[in-house]
Amino acid sequence: MSRIGVFVCHCGENISRTVDVERVAAQVGKLPGVAFATDYKYMCSDPGQNLLKKAIIEQKLSHVVVAACSPRMHERTFRKAVESAGINPFLCEMANIREHCSWVHENREEATVKAIEIVGMMVERVKKNRVLPTITVPVTKRSLVIGGGIAGIQAALDIADCGHEVVLVEREPSIGGHMAQLSETFPTLDCSQCIMTPKMVDVANHPKIKLYSYSEIELVEGYIGNFQVTIRKKARSVDEDKCTGCGLCMEKCPIKKIPSKFDCNLGMRTAIYVPFPQAVPNTPVIDRENCTKFKTGKCGLCQKVCGPGAVDYEQEDRLIVEPVGAIVVATGFDLYTINEKPKGSMIKGYGEFGHGKIPDVIDGMTFERLASASGPTGGKILRPSDGKEPKQIVFIQCIGSRAREKGISYCSKVCCMYTAKHTMLYHHKVHDGQAYVFFMDARTPGKSYDEFWRRSIEEEEAVYIRGMVSRLYQKGDKIVVMGSDIAVGVQVEIEADMVVLATAIQPQKGADTLAQKLGISYDKYNFYSEAHAKLRPVECATAGIYLAGACQGPKDIPDTVSQASAAAAKVMTLFAKDQLEREPIVARVREAGCVGCFYCKKVCPYGAVEEKEIRDRQGNLIRVVAYVNPGVCGGCGTCQATCPSKSVELDGYTDEQIVAMIEAL
């Protein structure tokens, strides 16, 4: 038989003003199982807590109900108090007679009756409460960072600098990401590569960072503190250990006319290549699709010239398993493709701007490569069609962004700023040229950002025209831009030499597939979802996985770096403990009843339900049942409500407890 103690709080006058607390204590004291009931002015105060502890010991209480404020306020306080008096904290419940009773009702009689019923419900509930042990899980103090752009690099360096090992996985042959492609960065106009490459070298040289370039995530298993990650290391055809990075192979390679993706197809590369001269690692990779050796079996020049014998045509993909405790996802962004309309995608393209048909209509990243000192033109702004310097250049903002019709209704956040930067770079390089910008709104929040934009207009004399462009067409060697100036209210026509489209930011291709491997959620655009839009912007809802950079939403470099460092800090918080403690509100499967339908597995938002094989002593499979991994379970209880055989129960919210409460009414 349980000996329940009920403690009714006055909360000064907050409760006792409308609720007759003494009557509540007296009435509840008569309920079966209640051994002790009292009221006190401030239960949460030190003397109040001492009263509680004393009563537990003196009255030999087995369960406790504190009728006071919302459990969101003081549940932790009272559970700690009962624990110190020797009772399992989960045998203590709170009845909310303040926020849900005394504060919202004026009639004393009604409020008192309601309070008695609320406390009565909690008494019946607490009778069914079970002792719950605190759950602890070990932590593997290594972390995985997915993506080697500025976000991944920053997170990896921060974690590694704290002395924890980092596994950095990059899909491309080199780390650096999009930032390595940029010319200069807003709002200070410092050269992107100048600030980026030292960080890349730091990654390569850091003793705590294990870099897997040209690799992808194959499989993620496990849960917070205990992930097992399988990495596919794609065949590079060059042995990284032997290669000295001399570059002779690239010099000799006869296939030299492959458009370089890094240079937005403006420049050419060889079949054995590094994406750009400062690549990290500086080990070439053979593009097997374009290599004569792989296509016809002939050639093999690179192998012949390679002194250390690093070129290995036989190399195959390797799968490597790495145990880690935390994962930082930093897969970054991709640019909206203006023409391409992938089948089945909700995103549409633009036909009216002639991108892909008119050679001098280019996108923003292509302009970055044109303006970059290390780019294919050596930093000269030249038209792709005839190599002439454009004297009239038109920039059009919001290509893909804020275009519901095209399938993207969000603002890409960086385009206003990078277009302002483009007009400045253009004016610095073509002094007698004129830049025009068609824009809908200029969105430049951020430190020194609006000033930067205004500078492009006031000092660099870019002409901004508010209004979207309707279409572009070729006329001789000019491009006619048909727009309007909505401030004046007339149509505007410009004959431009070159048009730059400020394309939207999209998540990386395959972001959804990776999310499914990781078990994290993503929105309809495939941006990864944070646990809370305001208060947990770095964490995923899945414990132990953190987000950094543009994979979570469009971001500029400073925001990306901040979030990467924040993600690293979160990882370090996790690694500060050897064992993880968590609330034992988790689901448990009653294996005897489980029929193995795995509906629970389908509905579990955390992927906490696993299939468990039950075997006899001889090792023969008897049946497969569900198993809830307590380390991963979030404690929502959806599985329990779904289970057709009622064989899974959420600790702390069992059917028994709920039914007891309903029956108490």
Partner: protein, 166 residues
Amino acid sequence: MHSEKQKHSFEPKIIAFVCTWCTYAGADLAGTSRMQYPSNVRVLKFPCTGRIDPVFILKAFQQGADGVLVSGCHPGDCHYIAGNFHARRRFAAFRKLLEFVGVDLNRLQFSWVSAAEGGKWVEVVTDLTEKVRAMGPMAEFKQLALEEQWSGTIGTPELKEAYNAI
């Protein structure tokens, strides 16, 4: 306000199944903002609307509830990622069943109340209370509960007589 209320002859019993992260917090906010609403509602806290088994609703009606309110986070705001979506689908199916059984669906209310919507909580509770009050007491399921005590077999005339006597 209250003198007016006390004129009512019938005070319905409303049970609210709410999730702890949104609606419970919203009800707390109504309290901290000292908003006023009818005292007929009893709140049962769940981690998530996804945890709410339709059986609980039946049980509540059996136990003498005249109205039931189920409320959780707005779609997309679930603390547990998608629990409220599962709940929504489940209850969409369950409503049909309940209608088939003969329960007036006006007694059952589903809503989304976020942690910031103290006012909406008050509105929802007040509306439901008034609606149910106008409908009068819920008798059908109480009868079922009694039948259950009779193991559901009251085939024989003697038993029927005894049952009617209760």
